[in-house]
């Protein structure tokens, strides 16, 4: 069963002469446990798609189902709560809270939800990502690769159904990129999580189970439907 599914997803900006069709009818389906890459050039609409998938922005038309649930039927506040329970984000610019240390950043979504932290699990994730020694450092004391690993840990910590990664290696050098990516793959497999990553780097995309290409807001060729 598809854990993530979109139907005729459209997002338009502006109108008339300057109408921009960022997404123009995307049908996409992602199975549980899959590692999917969305590839496209800059301006192809891939970031917009990711934002829609994560419920960060509302579409002009169409729906997104997560675990069979139409997420845009939710109110803003409910959507935020849904997001922090079901979806983990990893951004190109890490987006760590500068005033919190590594551990606090990782457990923030769990604490915001008012749930008890599964300390053993978090500790394991930290260890897997090689952050044990930096547990109490502030983001500013970490290198870029380390910061992105913290972001991955944060995305994993609440055991979300889906992890969405927006150019997770965009700010990293190639060696670190490889490093981070293999960690992402390992963790998604180990914890059985579904991962959707957008990138413009074909090489990196090759590491995923499946690649979907987007151009001018449309899926190019096959690949929209899952193989499974």
């Amino acid at each position: 069963m598809a854990v993530l599914k979109t139907e005729n997803l459209k997002k338009y900006y502006g109108k008339d002469a300057i109408l921009v069709k960022a997404l123009d009818g995307i049908d996409l389906s992602v199975e549980k446990g899959e590692f999917l890459s969305i590839v496209g050039t800059s301006g192809s609409g891939k970031s917009t798609l990711l934002h829609m998938l994560g419920g960060l922005d509302r579409p002009t038309e169409g729906t997104v189902y997560v675990d069979g649930k139409d997420i845009f039927a939710l109110k803003d506040e409910e959507l935020t709560i849904f997001r922090r329970r079901k979806i983990g984000f990893i951004f190109q610019s890490f987006n760590l809270v500068p005033v919190l240390n590594v551990y606090e950043n990782i457990v923030l979504p769990i604490e915001l939800d008012g749930n008890p932290v599964d300390k053993a699990f978090v500790k394991e994730v930290i260890k897997t990502l090689g952050l044990s020694e930096k547990t109490y450092s502030l983001p500013s004391q970490l290198s870029g690769g380390q910061q992105q690993r913290v972001a991955i840990a944060r995305a994993l910590a609440s055991k979300p159904a889906i992890i969405l990664a927006d150019e997770p290696t965009g700010n990293l050098d190639s060696a670190t990129s490889q490093d981070v990516l293999s960690l992402m793959k390992i963790t998604s497999q180990r914890y059985g999580q579904t991962m959707v990553m957008i990138t413009h780097n074909e090489g990196i995309a090759q590491l995923s189970d499946r690649i979907v290409r987007i151009e001018d807001g449309k899926v190019i060729g096959k690949g929209g439907e899952s193989h499974a």
Partner: protein, 874 residues
């Protein structure tokens, strides 16, 4: 939604982001402190005023007892005092109707018996010595001792000239030993001699009060001060005590006993006064707006600066409600620091302002103002400050809560400055860029301009109001001439009676004083007023008594005053008694004609014939005529009756020439009468006598008033101590203290609001520059020189100043012509005038600030190198 245990993490997030906002916090704390200072100063002054007036009233009404039963006989007192409602009762007695020592002429003294337990309630404060025990011991106040020329120590021998009964002028001299000296109450310009219980016993005979009779003497009557368990519903309790003890509360009944609640506890008076309520409410709203403007702006700027941060929090699952909580918590923290500082500061500001405010009303002596350290001040001000903080942070918090995570990831305040355009236009481009920079955040710009303008407009309004105080109008009501001289009794509570030629010798003005005045260098012209009370009658025939008067059972016409019906006094012949004034020409100029002939020359000529008179009618506080009490209209013919100088009874028909408005301070003997007539002094002297010389008003040359005032002061002290005077100068001083108060209070308010406006301005410029460091670095990277950048920020500051000037000029003029105009015509001695000079004076200061603040902020705020700034990642 299920309840989640996330308080801890919210607290942590809030506290940690709190710490990195140092500059914001500092400015916010100052703003909150200023706001709460304004509130607490307002509350201090308000509560201090009520409290001071309450103490004051308590003093004037003789004590802080809850209520009083008046003029009781011993028997009545015994009956009343056992009533269970009464917690404590104190029988006080007047032991002589007058104390006639000549030393007490200008400041009269009263002789009382107070039981010792009443001392603290009646503000009797023994500075030295002890309470009187023996019959020949008394307590005396220090000023009275001074007047008697005695050292203020116990043990002195004092002889009091007691006039026991008001109707009997016999003076009984009694010598006492001063057992103790009590403090003189500046609120009460009266001396006190307090006798012992032994005295009351010794003279029980003469103090035996038999109830009210025609003599009007109240010697020995008991004034029973009572204290109940609390001060609620005092008059009700008094009435209950009376009825349950078998007395009546109805005036006119035989067993009626007068009682009243101490005014000091009657708080409804001040509370329901709509002007006061309006003024206080207005001040509260004004402070709230002022506080709102700055606190709102501070938080808005700070949140805009951190908007990406809030967006990020939202992306990882912080709900809007949680973000609001984070911001609320920070606001609360800032309040916890700022409000107490403001409360304390405000309390002391209030303490400093209150005397100026109250003294200027002329009713409270310096040093008599007091602000109780009441929790109401602090709780009230704190609550209002918190409300302001929460209202002000509400919108910014909602802004942060509503931020869409996507937008926040991209967000920069407004649009980026445009870098297109022609290279060549040089300086002009910077100006245009500055203007569009202001337009980036219209809300912020608007708030800065409004808050700066508010101060300017307020300042201008304060000056307009103060300027509208018209000294001439004010003085005209009190004195129409520069000086007024008369017997000291005239100015004292005894006024001028003009009842008989014999008595007149003691209360009249002396010709020698007038002559001395006429010889003063600078004397211009003056006029005498003669007054005779009841010497001239008005025939009842042909008179229609207007509806404003009461009629009693026996058909007499008069007025009801509480227990008594006071009929209009009559002469021996049964005619209505008049208050008859004879005035010299100079006085005619001072009259305010209501109806009838108003040309002074015509009046002078017609009065001189003796066939015409002027009738003066009563007016209210605001100068309005009580139309239902106007006895005559111009043209009415009335018949006067009098006994002329040769003892011959005469009647004379005269015509009412004009009706004038009572001029209490200048033209009357300060006693009321239904028939007040003015005739020429010659006619007055012709039919009566020149003995009834009440007063003389005169003018002096310009610039001589101060000298003359000083001369009169010394003359009435040394040469003729029985004479006294009042002067325009005295009223001028009162006037300037009123205007001074307005200037001071309004000025300090404008100052604080101006300060807040400037703070707001500095804050926005500063945060603007700090948050745009990257942008500036980028500008420099693409080739803008530092010089040009400095020019840019200065241009922005100048635009703020210019917009403020335009806005405040428009708003100030509009307000001046509407609300301020209304305010400026609020009191009878005010005259509105359109003023914008204060604004014009402030504008250069604004321009200077507009240049200086951005310049300094930029110089000290922008220190990193271009590369460093560009490399900084959020």
């Amino acid at each position: 939604m299920r309840k989640v245990k996330n308080k801890e993490v919210i607290r942590r997030l809030s506290d940690k982001s709190f710490r990195i906002n140092r500059t914001r916090n500092l400015i916010a704390v100052v703003a909150i402190a200023l706001t709460s200072m304004l509130f607490s100063a307002l509350f201090s002054v308000g509560i201090g005023t009520v409290y001071t007036f309450q103490r004051q009233t308590a003093r004037q009404s003789g004590g802080d007892a809850h209520g009083v039963f008046k003029e009781l006989t011993q028997e009545e007192y015994e009956k009343l005092k056992v009533h269970p409602l009464i917690k404590e009762s104190m029988p006080c007695r007047l032991v002589a109707d007058y104390v006639r020592n000549p030393e007490f002429l200008k400041r009269h003294a009263e002789a009382w018996y107070y039981p010792e337990k009443a001392y603290p309630h009646c503000f009797i404060d023994i500075i030295e010595g002890k309470a009187p025990k023996a019959a020949d011991e008394i307590l005396l106040d220090e000023t009275s001792m001074e007047l008697l020329g005695l050292p203020k120590v116990p043990g002195q021998k004092v002889t009091l000239d007691l006039q026991l009964y008001s109707y009997d002028e016999t003076i009984t001299e009694r010598t006492f030993t001063v057992s103790g000296v009590i403090k003189s109450d500046p609120a009460l310009d009266v001396g006190f001699a307090l006798v012992s219980e032994a005295y009351v016993d010794k003279y029980a005979q003469e103090l035996a009060y038999k109830g009210q009779d025609d003599t009007g003497s109240t010697i020995g009557a008991i004034r029973m001060d009572v204290i109940f368990s609390n001060s609620l519903g005092i008059q009700k309790k008094l009435d209950q005590v009376l009825t349950e003890s078998g007395f009546s509360t109805e005036t006119g009944d035989d067993n009626y006993i007068a009682s009243n609640a101490n005014w000091a506890y009657v708080s409804d008076g001040a509370d329901t006064d709509p002007t006061t309520v309006g003024a206080v409410a207005g001040a509260l709203v004004l402070i709230l707006i002022t506080g709102y403007l700055i606190i709102y702006n501070i938080f808005r700027i700070s949140i805009m600066k951190d908007i990406r941060y809030y967006g990020l929090l939202k992306t990882i699952g912080t709900t809007g409600r949680q973000i609001k909580k984070i911001i609320r918590r920070q606001a609360l923290k800032l309040s916890v620091i700022g409000i107490p500082i403001g409360l304390l500061a405000g309390f002391f500001v209030g303490k400093a302002l209150l005397p100026a405010i109250l003294n200027s009303t002329g009713t409270v002596a310096p040093g008599e103002t007091q602000i109780p350290v009441s929790p109401v001040i602090f709780i009230g001000a704190a609550v209002f400050s918190l409300i302001t903080v929460f209202i002000s942070t509400g919108h910014p918090a909602r802004l942060a809560a509503k931020v869409s995570p996507i937008e926040a990831l991209r967000f920069t305040e407004g649009m980026k400055a445009k870098k297109k355009g022609k290279r060549s236009s040089g300086g002009g481009k910077i100006w245009r860029m500055a203007l569009s920079n202001l337009g980036r955040s219209k809300g912020k710009t608007a708030i800065i301009i409004v808050s700066l303008s508010l101060a300017v407009v307020l300042l201008n309004s304060v000056f307009t109001v103060t300027n509208s105080f018209d000294m001439d109008m004010f003085l005209r009501s009190f004195t129409s001439s520069d000086f007024l001289i008369a017997n000291a009794r005239y100015f004292n509570t005894e006024y001028y009676h003009g009842g008989s030629e014999e008595l007149a010798a003691e209360e009249s003005l002396t010709e020698s004083f007038i002559e001395a005045c006429q010889d003063i260098d600078g004397f211009e012209e003056g006029g005498r007023i003669y007054a005779a009370n009841g010497k001239v009658g008005v025939k009842k025939e042909g008179l229609t008594i207007p509806s404003g008067y009461d009629v009693n059972e026996s058909g007499e016409i008069g007025e009801n005053y509480g227990k008594h019906f006071i009929p209009i006094p009559q002469t021996e012949n049964g005619d209505y008694a008049s208050m008859f004034y004879g005035v010299e020409d100079f006085i005619l100029d001072e009259m305010k004609v209501w109806k009838g002939e108003s040309d002074v020359d015509t009046i002078r000529q017609k009065l001189a014939t003796g066939d015409y008179i002027i009738y003066s009618t009563s007016i209210g506080d605001k100068g309005e005529v009580y139309e239902d009490k106007v006895m005559h209209q111009p043209g009415d013919k009335i018949t006067l009756s009098y006994t002329d100088r040769n003892g011959e009874y005469k009647e004379k028909e005269v015509t009412v020439l004009s009706v004038i408005k009572d001029d209490y301070w200048n033209l009357t003997n300060r006693l009321s009468s239904e028939f007040k007539y003015y005739v020429s002094s010659d006619f007055f002297k012709e039919i009566l006598s020149d003995k009834f010389l009440m007063s003389c008003s005169f003018n002096v040359e310009e610039g001589k008033d101060r000298d003359v005032d000083a001369w009169l002061d010394s003359y009435t002290k040394s040469r003729e101590p029985l004479m006294d005077y009042s002067s325009k100068l005295q009223y001028e001083e009162q006037f300037s203290s009123i205007t001074g108060m307005f200037l001071m209070v309004g000025g300090s308010l404008a100052f604080v609001i101006g300060f807040i406006g400037i703070l707001n301005f500095i804050n926005s410029i500063l945060t603007g520059i700090i948050s745009r460091q990257r942008e500036f670095a980028m500008m420099q990277a693409i080739g803008m020189t530092r010089r040009q950048l400095t020019k840019l920020v200065i241009a922005e500051g100048l635009y703020y100043a210019l917009l403020t000037i335009v806005f405040s000029l428009a708003a100030g003029c509009m307000l001046s012509l509407t609300i301020v105009r209304k305010l400026s015509e609020g009191m009878w001695f005010m005259k509105y005038e359109f003023v914008i000079t204060p604004m014009l004076i402030v504008f250069p200061v604004l321009i200077l600030l507009g240049v200086l603040v951005p310049y300094l902020a930029f110089r000290f705020g922008n220190s990193g190198s271009v590369v460093e700034e560009l490399q900084k990642v959020d």
